[in-house]
């Protein structure tokens, strides 16, 4: 365990080395909130509602996804594809380490870093945009939401390992990566609540693991998901399913790893 703590520490040190990057990344996070804010203000700012969402509730939702996104989608595993192509995967492979734990612990370091900065950004967003914030007071619901967030973190980790592993077979990893990012932007519910979509699209998206990354955990937290228990179970199912796929893909991929030079 000690070694993973050290990796956790050194990853944080690494992040801190790039001070400008770090600040710019945080600024980006605020912009991520700004764009939908202005869109929704244009649509609902004058009052009224759409699909049962008023301006206030949609702002609560967006504020929630902004916070959750830092926690769930903060990741270092997105480097995996690059590491395979450049051959730098060799370094952790040659150490007495569990390679999945290595990547997961680096993800956790990234998330902790994000979380710390959220404490500066949240008051800033609150001060400027004054979105109505919803504090869940029911401890049981908070517990369910926490479980659902933890599952989301694991699901996202597996998705990243699977997509990164594509690099074992092809050099073209940027386009698939980018496509995944765009799909996730919509299908996780980061831009708008998924229950605004037509039923057909909702069904389609709910057949993927993406809604369980942001939409479901947030709905559970807000206390507006009547099926939360079955949703948690489905998320758990995805964890197992993607876990098995990750293992299979990795086991096959690592055999074709060529450890090329830079």
């Amino acid at each position: 365990m000690h070694k993973y703590l050290s990796i956790f520490g050194i990853t944080l040190q690494e992040i801190f080395t790039y001070r400008l990057n770090m600040v710019m990344w945080r600024v980006r996070q605020i912009f991520v909130f700004l764009i939908p804010f202005f869109i929704w203000r244009a649509v609902l700012g004058q009052g009224g509602d759409i699909y049962g969402y008023s301006f206030a509730t949609i702002m609560t939702y967006l504020f929630g996804t902004t916070v959750l996104r830092s926690l769930v989608m903060g990741s270092r595993t997105i480097d995996l594809g690059w590491m395979i192509n450049s051959g730098s995967l060799t370094i952790p492979l040659m150490r007495p380490l569990n390679i999945f734990s290595f990547f997961f612990i680096r993800d956790l370091a990234d998330k902790l870093f994000n979380l710390t900065f959220m404490f500066i950004e949240i008051p800033l967003i609150l001060l400027i945009f004054k979105p109505p914030v919803f504090i869940q007071t029911n401890p049981l619901i908070v517990l369910y939401a926490t479980v659902s967030i933890l599952l989301a973190i694991i699901i996202y980790f597996f998705i990243n390992v699977i997509f990164g592993s594509l690099a074992f077979w092809t050099r073209d990893i940027w386009a698939p990566r980018f496509l995944l990012m765009v799909i996730m932007e919509i299908a996780t519910g980061a831009m708008f609540p998924l229950d605004m979509l037509p039923l057909f699209w909702q069904k389609l998206i709910f057949a993927t693991p993406f809604p369980y990354l942001l939409f479901i955990p947030l709905k559970i937290y807000l206390g507006t998901d009547p099926q939360f228990l079955s949703h948690i179970l489905i998320a758990l199912g995805w964890v197992f399913f993607l876990g098995v796929i990750t293992k299979l893909v990795w086991r096959k991929g690592i055999k074709s790893y060529e450890a090329e030079g830079r």
Partner: protein, 312 residues
């Protein structure tokens, strides 16, 4: 007892072949041609404990591929490897704790952090007790003389300093086997020399084996008694460095020094040396003659350049 054995080791890569020109690129898009490239074909050898072995061969000979299979990084297409009793490919912790791999062209330290951070991390990863770690680090830092750069970001180090730091990181857990892929590549002559000196000293201090690949003859000449010459994925020679000349060179050199100090050299078939020397000595202007072996560099160069075998 051999620490490393390889039997009929073979590695085949699948590479995409590119057709020439723009139209070729377009065709490749729809119907890529994949070709099998044999990097190592049917290689067998064994290495004993404490040996310092050199794999030599031109670029693309299969040296690095062999090394990567020995370290467990590459999955052999066929054949069997045993290192310290382990199958390297399984990468068991007990195996990984006893080996180390340094690639001359690749950075294994944390690029953005001072080298000391990488060493400290290695201490935790390899579970090295604090007093042992302190002593090993002190010894290595002394031996390599890099005490003053431990707290400098790795990216700011010169290539020579970085290679030294890489070695510290690779040796901090006192591995039984050290794999070195082109350890002196890109270094200046002085730094190459100090690197060789270090490896020599290090090998003599402990019972660890060092396996290095290089295409610099000097590395091998100074360091290795046991050499494996490899080309086109096959072993051309496996044995003592001193036996290479006897095996591959058909000629000897006779140097004749004349009365005015001028030097003439004759390349003579081994069997005819005595006869030729006698003939040469009959010339009254000859002051002295020397009979020499051909330089090992020349022998090896001719092995690689002659398609039908060396003629030297």
């Amino acid at each position: 007892m051999p620490t490393i054995t390889a039997h009929n080791l073979r590695k085949v890569y699948s590479v995409q072949k590119k057709r020439p020109g723009l139209s070729g690129s377009l065709k490749d898009l729809f119907a890529p041609i994949n070709e099998e490239k044999v990097a190592v074909q049917d290689v067998s050898f064994s290495i004993d404990e404490g040996e310092l072995v050199g794999f030599i061969g031109p670029n693309g000979a299969g040296k690095t591929t062999t090394l990567k299979m020995l370290s467990g990084l590459l999955y052999p297409t066929s054949g069997e490897v045993r290192v310290l009793g382990f199958d390297p490919w399984k990468r068991e912790y007990d195996f990984l704790k006893q080996i180390s791999l340094v690639m001359g062209q690749k950075n294994q330290l944390w690029w953005d952090l001072p080298a000391i951070e990488s060493f400290n991390l290695a201490k935790d990863i390899y579970d090295i007790p604090q007093p042992v770690y302190k002593k090993t680090l002190y010894d290595l830092v002394e031996l390599l003389d890099i005490g003053d750069v431990l707290n400098v970001q790795v990216r700011k180090l010169s290539l020579g300093q970085r290679m030294k730091a890489e070695l510290v990181a690779a040796l901090i857990h006192t591995p039984k086997i050290l794999y070195l892929d082109e350890p002196t590549i890109g270094l200046d002559v002085v730094m190459q020399q100090s690197m060789r000196q270090f490896l020599k000293d290090y090998n003599q201090r402990g019972d660890g084996s060092i396996i290095l690949t290089s295409h610099y003859m000097d590395d091998v000449k100074e360091l290795c008694k046991h050499v494996v010459i490899i080309d086109n994925g096959t072993i051309l020679f496996d044995g003592l460095l001193s036996n290479i000349i006897a095996k591959f060179s058909k000629h000897k050199i006779i140097e004749v020094i004349g009365g005015k100090g001028e030097l003439k050299t004759h390349k003579v078939l081994r069997g005819q040396v005595a006869e030729k020397a006698a003939t040469l000595l009959k010339d009254p202007s000859v002051v002295d003659i020397n009979i020499k072996e051909i330089e090992i560099e020349d022998v090896i160069r001719s092995i690689f350049s002659a398609p039908t075998g060396p003629d030297i």
